[in-house]
Amino acid sequence: MARAWITIVLVGICACTERAELTPDDTARLPATRFLSEVTGNNGYARVLYPKKFQFPQDHGSHPEYRTEWWYFTGNLEGARARHYGFELTFFRYALKADEAEGTSAWRTNQAWMAHFALTDTQGNKFFADERLSREAIGLAGNQRAPFRVWVEDWSATSEGTEFLPIHLKAGNENAKLDLTLVSSKPPIANGDRGMDRKGPGTGNASYYYSMTRLQTVGFIQVGSSKEMVSGFTWMDREWGTNTLSDDLEGWDWFSVQLSDNTELMYYRLRHRDGSTSPYSGGSIVDATGSYRPLSADAVLLTALDHWKSPNSARTYPVAWKLEVPDEDLILEIEPYLLQQELNLTVRYWEGAIRAIGTRQLQPVDGSGYLELAGY
């Protein structure tokens, strides 16, 4: 989904090179207005103007002709005795300019990369988050098509063979690590209008967006010195574009849920500065067979049920929700596995593992997923 704002951070860093400047207030100001609007030199980049038929495995690889792009993995896993873990591993590519940089140094590049890693240890009541930032030079970060590989320094997603799946995810730091293999999946779904996901009224205010909604996952999680075998489901989002967002947006709330009846749901609400919901909000719903359909902005009703104030940033996030899809007769109550799932990185945002309980056509249903709260 539209996590373009994170890539803004890369621009933000490039624009001010000071962490202190990226205070909560500033990050709220960073998106859209300055960087992703039409004015700030999108010259030379390709734009998302028409729907697209995705070609795999080619489209798993990077599209450097667009300004921003990401590979976004989130998942809910279980270890021994149903110990729950949530993880997030993302790779962002950001082009600093459209054409390639010239020079004899191997460090010359027009591409910068950022990766975020977060691990939620629900029973241990612990949340870990870290990041990596590097340029696409001397092999520090980048994307490789065959076999597929995307990496930033020591964090990576690497396909085992010529096929995209199975793929290995490796990331972490001294305190927490993950080493997972995503084995199989439902086929990818094209979000929005045949893969073109409009996010604003302007020309090119859109992204190419596909998701792999249920990736069977096995592997290891290590917290401190204790290593545990885990299994569960991962969700992968792939998105790229140039001037994706319109400049009147303040943030968004993004939901992905994998339900016990083998269905999935994704919905994002784009918030205007005045608090209203953008008509360009939307999502997708996937049935047990893998067929899917888009959800329009008004197809989903969202009600915040509970808020949490971060002791670190003093920001208040709506962390519990009621999500209703009247057409599906689906009602879900969503709450986080842990309250503290705020990533205190170059940019602060809340993104965490959630559990969902509710009914579909009056039948009980439950599941897990991820919630991203941006621009608070």
Binding site: V11, I13, C14, A15, C16, T17, E18, R19, A20, E21, L96, K97, A101, E102, G103, T104, S105, A106, W107, R108, T109, N110, A112, D130, R132, L133, S134, R135, A137, I138, G139, L140, W151, E153, D154, N173, E174, T346
Partner: protein, 841 residues
């Protein structure tokens, strides 16, 4: 009644406007000196912190290659293997402006994406098109210090011709960097470039200078195990430890001087307040007789002090602010000369200094007023109106003060002899010595006057005798001012002797060590022979009247304990030119020649706490090598500490044939003029080197030395000024108060000239007494500065040379100050209206 009291005070000052002005000036100056010096000091400290923050940021460690540059693949390996997550590649190299090759900058090649983690204070001011993005993308783009941009009128997109690695290159400015103050690498500033630009400018593709790291203890352990062979992991702060230590020592020295000024200032305030009370004793006596309560008097005097203190403190703050502006330039320049060889920029100081200054001014005024206020409140009306009672008690007080000197000197000795070897403690001891001197001043004055009376009487007759006795009898009002003057003059003498001693030691050392006639110095850091090729050296050697050459290689060596200067020498025909502090010179030199060890400089020995016989571990390309320390030598150049080794040993262990300097020795004293062009032509015009004569180096060294101590001079002058005001205040009040006495003299037939002369002789005597008492105190102070403070601050020892000049200067200053101060009161005494003053009774 309160109204009456404050009216009385107001009337007093109204009738004595000079007294009011002097009181306010005295307090104001005391506050001003303290605030001014503190501001300058704080500003310098911040400049230091700012710059080291700027260069190091959050860096905890640095990975370097003992042999030179690091292949960039090492960075790639460590990061992609996950050994060290928080790492930044750095290339640093000297850069000069093509237009002004004398100015050195550091070209710092960074990865802007990594800088957020490291140097958060590097904060380019983004212009329209200036950003680190441009830095990363545009070849040859740099970010320059704001001051340089202003100076050279550089805008975004401006081209700038620079010299790097001896080659000229054209770079393009894409932004400015908020000014950085000091750069511990010794340059005039940082010029920031992307790592790619640095590689391209320096032809260093594939290499970086070092890796900056932010490491946890576990990561340090991991890295120690996993780091590639040949690399060394340094603690980032250790390279700067010596630097921090030095700047701290310098700042403590300055603070001590400012506190001294404050001490003199408090003396002055005390003197001022007690005067105005002493002078009004008759009035107070009358008031008491009229039934004014003690506490009313006490409160009233304190209120008066508060009002005076407030006005004066405000004036002092304003004055101090101005003073600070001037001083900070001096302080920073001194720091620049001492440690950086560069100009440094001021940084606005903390507001809290003004508050402290205000508190000190008001507090000191009230405290200083308390004793006189108590005296006023406690006097019995009849006694208060009598003069004799007052002077009698003053004499007793001078004995009492002298008795108090006993415990203070005991404390001082105990602190200095038994206390820990700590700079601040040493200063505390020094202050106690000064306090002792101040306490002894009144009694010493009485003694001196007794001794002087017959001589003065012979010289000036009866008025001389009157003057001498006048000095003793007026001690109640002059005692404190005298003490203040004495302390100030002692400081002038003491610091003067210290500087003179230092200068003499420096000159001796320069004579001992600069034994070649001409020096060739390489302008660039060279790995190979640089400009000093074998052929050129042979050609120089073959010049007529050249007897021989000495060769040297100076390089910075990164060690786990910090950076050090390694100096490898191959001596010329006149020997090694070393000045030994510890160790047998002949024995040590023969060992040095047979490659059996190293010599260390005095500051190095001091800072690392090593001495002759110890082993010193130095990193060589083939691992750590232990060298035995053969002796400690004097070295005033590299205050960070240096290690001297024979060139043969250096070449053996470091496998480096590079040379950075050549000394040329003449067979007979040959005229420089004919040889210099010959050497120039042998060296060629394309290479970068400097040719300096022995004399030029000496002169330059002394110029820098004198500039370094300019700030100290300024503070000495300020201290004298405060003391001058004190004595002026005291004498004016004294003369004003003695109006009736003078009127009596006039009525008895003394001419106005005689009366003026009396005043003059008296003030002259006061000044002379202060000057004479200040001599032993000053010498003691100098000894403390030379043997304790300087050694503990910088690790430099020096010869103690008592020269007549600073002493005579001090005494002359005291007498001049006193005579100048006596000018107005004496003139006034001559013009006195006799009748009016006699009628008072």
């Amino acid at each position: 009644m309160n109204n009456l009291l404050s009216t009385a005070a107001q009337r007093f000052y109204f009738r004595h406007p000079w007294q009011l002005i002097l009181a306010i000036m005295g307090i104001a100056l005391g506050v001003a000196v303290y605030v001014g010096v503190s501001l300058a000091n704080d500003s310098a400290r911040r400049a230091f912190e700012w710059s080291s923050q700027l260069v190091l940021g959050r860096t905890t460690h640095q990975l370097v290659n003992a042999g030179g540059m690091l292949p960039e693949s090492i960075y790639y390996d460590l990061l992609t293997r996950g050994v060290i997550p928080n790492a930044a590649p750095i290339i640093d190299e000297e850069l000069r402006l093509a237009s002004q090759p004398g100015r050195r900058f550091t070209l710092l090649g960074v990865d802007p994406l990594k800088e957020t983690l490291f140097r958060s204070t590097i904060r380019p001011i983004p212009g329209e098109s200036a950003s680190p993005t441009a830095l990363m993308l545009k070849p040859a783009s740099v970010i320059v210090p704001e001051s340089l941009a202003n100076e050279l009128k550089l805008e975004n997109g401006s081209a700038l011709n620079v010299i790097v690695k001896g080659r000229t290159a054209r770079v393009r400015v894409v932004g400015t960097l908020k000014d950085i103050g000091l750069d511990p690498n010794g340059s005039s500033g940082l010029i920031l470039a992307d790592i790619s630009t640095s590689q391209e400018l320096l032809n260093l593709e594939g290499f970086i200078s070092r890796i900056d790291l932010v490491l946890t203890p576990t990561e340090v352990e991991n890295l120690q195990l996993l780091k590639p062979a040949g690399t060394t992991l340094l603690t980032a702060t250790s390279g700067n430890a010596a630097f921090n230590e030095l700047s701290r020592a310098f700042r403590i020295n300055l603070t001590a001087l400012s506190l001294l000024a404050l001490m003199v200032g408090v003396f002055l305030i005390y003197a001022t307040m007690s005067f105005s009370i002493v002078q009004r004793r008759p009035t107070i006596g009358v008031l008491r007789a009229l039934g004014v309560q003690r506490h009313e008097l006490l409160l009233n005097v304190l209120r008066e002090a508060a009002v005076l203190g407030l006005i004066a403190t405000l004036a002092g703050l304003a004055l101090g602010h101005q003073l600070g502006q001037g001083l900070v330039e001096l302080v920073l320049r001194t720091l620049g000369d001492l440690y950086f060889g560069s100009y440094v920029t001021a940084i606005s100081p903390a507001i809290s200094i003004y508050w402290k200054g205000a508190l000190l001014g008001l507090g000191a005024t009230l405290l200083a007023a308390l004793a006189p206020a108590m005296t006023a409140a406690n006097t019995i009306p009849a006694v208060a109106m009598s003069r004799a009672a007052l002077e009698r008690s003053a004499k007793e007080k001078s004995f009492f003060a002298a008795l108090l000197a006993l415990p203070t000197i005991t404390i001082a000795s105990m602190i200095l002899l038994l206390g820990p070897e700590n700079l601040i403690i040493a200063f505390v001891g020094l202050f106690f010595v000064l306090v002792t001197g101040a306490l002894l001043t009144p009694l010493a004055t009485v003694g001196l006057m007794k001794f002087a009376e017959p001589f003065v009487e012979k010289l000036f007759g009866i008025s001389g005798s009157l003057a001498v006795r006048g000095v003793t009898s007026s001690l109640s009002r002059t005692g404190v001012a005298m003490a203040a003057l004495t302390v100030a003059i002692a400081t002038v003498i003491g610091v003067g002797i210290m500087i003179a001693s230092f200068r003499v030691s420096l000159v001796n050392w320069l004579d001992d060590t600069l034994i070649a006639d001409l020096y060739l110095q390489s302008d660039v850091q060279v790995e190979e022979r640089g400009p000093f090729t074998e052929a050129r050296l042979l050609a120089i050697q073959d010049l007529p009247s050249v007897e021989g050459l000495s060769l040297s290689r100076l390089r910075r060596l990164q060690t786990p304990d910090g950076e050090l200067n390694l100096r490898a020498i191959s001596p010329g025909p006149n020997g090694w030119g070393l000045s030994f502090v510890t160790g047998n010179a002949e024995e040590a030199i023969s060992m040095l020649e047979s490659q059996q060890g190293v010599l260390v400089s005095e500051p190095f020995a001091f800072r690392r706490a090593v001495t002759k016989g110890d082993l010193l571990n130095l990193p060589t390309p083939n691992g750590i090598q232990a060298f035995s320390i053969l002796g400690v030598i004097r070295d005033y150049y590299t205050d960070g500490g240096s290690v001297t080794i024979s060139l043969d040993a250096y070449r053996h262990y470091w496998e480096d044939n590079g040379l950075t300097g050549v000394g040329i020795y003449f067979a007979t004293p040959a005229p420089n003029r004919s040889i210099q062009p010959a050497v120039q032509s042998i060296m060629g015009s394309g290479t970068r080197f400097r040719l300096l004569s022995n004399g030029t180096i000496k002169t330059r060294s002394l110029i820098i030395f004198d500039r370094t101590f300019q700030i100290t001079e300024v503070l000495r002058i300020l201290a004298s000024l405060v003391a001058f005001l004190g004595i002026l205040n005291a004498l004016t009040s004294l003369q004003l108060e003695r109006a009736r006495e003078i009127a009596t003299l006039r009525a008895l037939g003394a001419s106005p000239r005689q009366v003026s002369a009396l005043g003059f002789v008296q003030t002259g005597l006061l000044g002379l007494a202060a000057g004479l008492i200040a001599i032993p105190l000053g010498i003691a102070l100098a000894a403390l500065l030379v043997f304790v403070i300087n050694e503990r601050s910088f690790g430099w020892s020096m010869d103690f040379v008592i020269q007549a000049k600073p002493i005579l200067l001090g005494v002359a200053l005291a007498v001049t100050a006193a005579l100048l101060a006596g000018l107005y009161p004496a003139a006034r005494a001559g013009r006195l209206n006799i009748i009016a003053h006699l009628r008072e009774e």
